[in-house]
Assembly symmetry: C2
Homo-oligomer: 231 residues x 2
DNA sequence: AAGTGGTCTAGACCACACC
DNA sequence: GTGTGGTCTAGACCACTTC
């Protein structure tokens, strides 16, 4: 045992006891008080270590009931949702955004209901390509609620992607992200320079602020795209 | 200002200042010391609030340099990686695992290098289906390193999925997860009761403990599968 | 009623980076 | 050197939940 205990060394010790099955799944472990005395640190330090592990799904904690080793640990994977430009630049490629279409128009019923937009409200409809080293990387199709971000009409969306503009101008929206796979249709296949029917990775993102929908976007990735994370 | 400050109320106040652009992107915000005095709480409480937001990518913190509002907030999405049985049961369906093939054999060069397994070592090769209400949900193809988990040979993998067996017997492996899209081949299409070439969502998972690879699995999801998260 | 985790406080020391 | 965040301590009160 080191003579100075930091919350990280305590956490390592707790993880060791899990790995080596000293504490079995479902088992009640000693209280913070007891662990603090045993490990020679303050209760706050033990709490800091245990809290992190409980958030990670390794322990279940309840007042009075105590702390139990989770029966089935739910592993949590973290995905960093970058703006696409940074994503491309991280791969060492040169980024370019190419606007294909931009118009003010009335949304479909489906879009309207998903963003909770009034039916007499015009929205901004956009299509465009994110390129990496001049190769198509992502094709996106987007609706933007002009009631929330009227300022975007004064922006030249040829020079900055709507993605990036929105991130810079709308602080802290809530959002939903849906990942799926789809077969490309003719349009998508042509834009992504692949064959119709090729399997592509699709991310649909919907963001809102308070009760107002801001934008909904469908991002169709190049064939072969992989999203990676560690646990 | 409430008369009692908890770290959550402090965090809400900090978020308000971000949302209302009281603090601009890139701007240096006051030190913990100053904020504590201003908000009428202790420095530890401010630290707790700020730490969470910094972990979420909203602030950049550096000793001496202070705390800045992130220029481009990197949003972090959390994915809960459940065992598949729970995933299915959460959808209100009845889960069943159907083993298709099981054999001890020598892995391909690709598998061997990705798990760092010796070339004279036999591994366990498995194929099977996860069913939801008797409909194919996920087709999986898996290699397991017998050097790490010999015990699995004494298990009847007809009655428990390897996924669940491993989760219960190997505490806390490290892992890598890769998400992608693919067109089904004839075998996959037939097992998933779809047409060859249908786009499917694929999750490849690789886990290891220390330097020893444990398992590598390719999970092909039913067409139309969606993975959802919020930010 | 009593024990547990959740949190706040006040003070302290330190590591780090900027000066 | 100096100011910042990172952390630890000891003590305290409270909320929750099981007994």
């Amino acid at each position: 045992m080191p003579d100075v205990q930091t919350w990280k060394t305590v956490q390592h010790e707790l993880l060791r006891r899990l790995r080596e099955r000293i504490w079995q799944p479902g088992q009640l472990i000693p209280s913070e008080q007891v662990l603090a005395e045993e490990l020679g640190c303050s209760r706050a330090t033990v709490n800091r270590a245990l809290r992190g592990l409980a958030e990670g799904g390794l322990f279940d904690r309840r007042r009075k009931a105590g702390t139990r080793v989770a029966m089935i640990p739910v592993r949590k994977a973290n995905l960093n949702i970058d703006i696409i430009r940074l994503d491309v630049e991280k791969r060492g490629a040169v980024y370019r955004w190419a606007l294909i279409e931009q118009q003010r128009t009335f949304p479909t019923e489906r879009i309207r209901s998903r963003l909770e937009v009034d039916h007499d409200m015009e929205m901004l409809y956009l299509r465009g390509l994110h390129l990496a080293d001049e190769h198509p990387f992502i094709y996106e199709e987007r609706w933007i609620n002009l009631a929330v971000v009227p300022g975007i009409l004064e922006t030249d969306l040829n020079s900055i992607s709507p993605n990036e503009w929105l991130v810079r101008h709308i602080p802290l929206p809530s959002g939903e992200i849906v990942f799926s796979a789809a077969n490309t249709d003719a349009t998508e296949a042509s834009l992504l320079e692949t064959e119709e029917g090729a399997a592509v990775f699709v991310i649909e993102r919907r963001t809102w602020k308070g009760h107002q929908g801001i934008t909904i976007v469908r991002m169709v990735h190049e064939p072969g795209f992989r999203m990676r994370t560690t646990i």
